[in-house]
């Protein structure tokens, strides 16, 4: 098995057996299920638009809790030294932690596809916005997990990592608000930085490469910076 495989197996085991994973998954499914049931019974419309926006907020709030332990816990316990003195590249360590957290979020999202199944069973939902919504959530999760992993790699305090991640996510969420008081073309930069601005088109069934590029670029940048943070020693 490759070094990445060995690390990934360890990280997946840690991610899926930690009490945090169960607590976060429980909260996620409870709130998402509540939102789905409520929106379905009130609007009687077979779509998941409201659920996707609710899940967007849930991910912003819950991903910091998932990623905070990635590196901070190992740094505090001293075990990070065991990993960094092993003959493995820093990028493998980063990828293993990133992919395990993303896998946990992906499983949570997978469980929520039961809502789409219910809609398909009892109605005739437009599947394009649903597929777009799930793609958006996966891309959003990828970026959030990347940034959360980055913050976890620069501190040994999990609360600090979670707070910094949440702060970053909220700033990105509301980044376009500051555009109202900025002159052109600086305002465009902040409009394009918005987390929500790149999310909303997916949910209406429109997939733009620029939106996909935003999330992928952000993820790669976060992973690059995390690797640099580990390598710079």
């Amino acid at each position: 098995m490759s070094a990445l495989g060995v690390l990934l197996r360890k990280e997946l085991h840690a991610a899926f057996t930690s009490p945090v994973a169960w607590a976060v998954s429980g909260v996620f499914l409870l709130v998402a299920g509540y939102t789905f049931s409520l929106s379905l019974f009130m609007s009687k419309v077979a779509n998941l638009t409201y659920v996707f926006h609710q899940v967007y907020i849930l991910l912003v709030l819950l991903v910091p809790v998932i990623t905070m332990r990635s590196f901070a816990e190992e740094r505090k316990a001293g075990t990070l030294e065991l990993l960094l003195t092993a003959p493995v590249r820093e990028i493998w360590v980063v990828l293993a932690k990133y992919l395990s957290c993303l896998a946990l979020v992906a499983v949570m999202l997978l469980a929520s596809t039961s809502y789409a199944a219910v809609l398909a069973l009892y109605g005739e939902p437009d599947l394009a916005p649903i597929a777009g919504g799930y793609l958006a959530l996966l891309l959003l999760a990828s970026l959030l997990v990347g940034v959360g992993t980055l913050w976890s790699s620069v501190t040994e305090n999990q609360v600090v990592a979670a707070s910094a991640s949440l702060g970053t996510f909220l700033m990105l969420w509301f980044a376009d608000s500051v555009a109202y008081i900025l002159p052109a073309p600086v305002d465009l930069f902040f409009v394009n930085l918005s987390l929500l601005g790149h999310f909303a088109p997916f949910v209406s069934g429109s997939v733009f490469l620029s939106d996909v590029g935003y999330y992928l670029t952000g993820t790669l940048l976060a992973l690059f910076l995390t690797t640099r943070a580990l390598a710079d020693r």
């Binding site: 070094a3 060995v6 001293g78 075990t79 030294e81 065991l82 960094l84 003195t85 003959p87 020693r233």
Partner: protein
């Protein structure tokens, strides 16, 4: 086996290690002695690849620690000072994980784990979760994880810290037992431990290497240390 040429390490403006030149022969047990803050741990961390030198050259078994870091790291086993281990794992799980991570072939892992468990007397606790181990067992498991891939170089940071007298004697015997088969580099600020365990001693002060002496030619290490420090 291990060569350092004018190795320097800076953390911002702080000079942690300066111009250290040192070579350690195959099978030799070398002790790094010095007060707290003398640069012992920094030097050990550079040997293990946990930190990289700011300048100078460090080679392990002929592999440059900066240009061939993975090859150099593959040849080193490291036991950090506080014996950090994955507490949620069982001993067998940890040893298997570390063996796989350090490149032991999948089929050879059970044998490697069994062998190192036997030689470090941790066979009885292979199925015990690490969080339930006593301090003595924990220390032996920490050494076992460093030796499971049979590295030619073993680095130990303050290996007897926090141990009771019996465990200190066991650790000393263990290190002496490795002499000849493995190059051992250990740090300590306890003069008597260094004097009883190592073949040669390197004395560090404020990041600089003051002297390297053979223990056979140093009957009174305490007097030597006081005269230098």
């Amino acid at each position: 086996m291990v060569e350092l040429r004018k190795v320097t390490k800076r953390y911002g403006p702080h000079l942690a290690v300066r111009d250290v030149t040192l070579s350690v022969a195959e099978g030799e047990v070398l002790g790094l002695l010095g007060p707290n803050g003398s640069g012992k741990t920094t030097l050990l961390r550079m040997l293990t690849g946990a930190h990289t030198p700011t300048s100078g050259q460090l080679t392990v078994a002929g592999f440059d620690s900066v240009r061939q870091p993975l090859e150099a790291r593959r040849r080193v086993g490291y036991v950090p000072e506080s014996h950090p281990l994955y507490d949620h794992m069982r001993v067998r799980e940890l040893l298997s994980f570390m063996a796989a991570l350090r490149g032991v072939e999948r089929r050879a892992i059970p044998g490697a784990v069994g062998e190192v468990a036997e030689s470090l007397a941790v066979k009885d606790v292979l199925e015990v979760p690490i969080r339930h181990l006593s301090r003595g067992y924990r220390q032996r498991v920490a050494i076992a994880q460093a030796l499971v891939h049979r590295p030619p170089v073993l680095v130990l940071d303050e290996p007897t810290n926090g141990l009771d007298p019996r465990q200190i004697i066991e650790t000393r015997n263990l290190i002496r037992g490795l002499a000849g088969r493995c190059t051992v580099i250990m740090s300590s600020h306890i003069l008597s431990e260094i004097a009883r365990t190592v073949d040669r001693v390197a004395i560090l002060l404020r990041g600089g290497l003051l002297t390297v002496r053979s223990m056979a030619e140093t009957p009174d290490l305490e007097a030597l240390f006081l005269s230098l420090a």
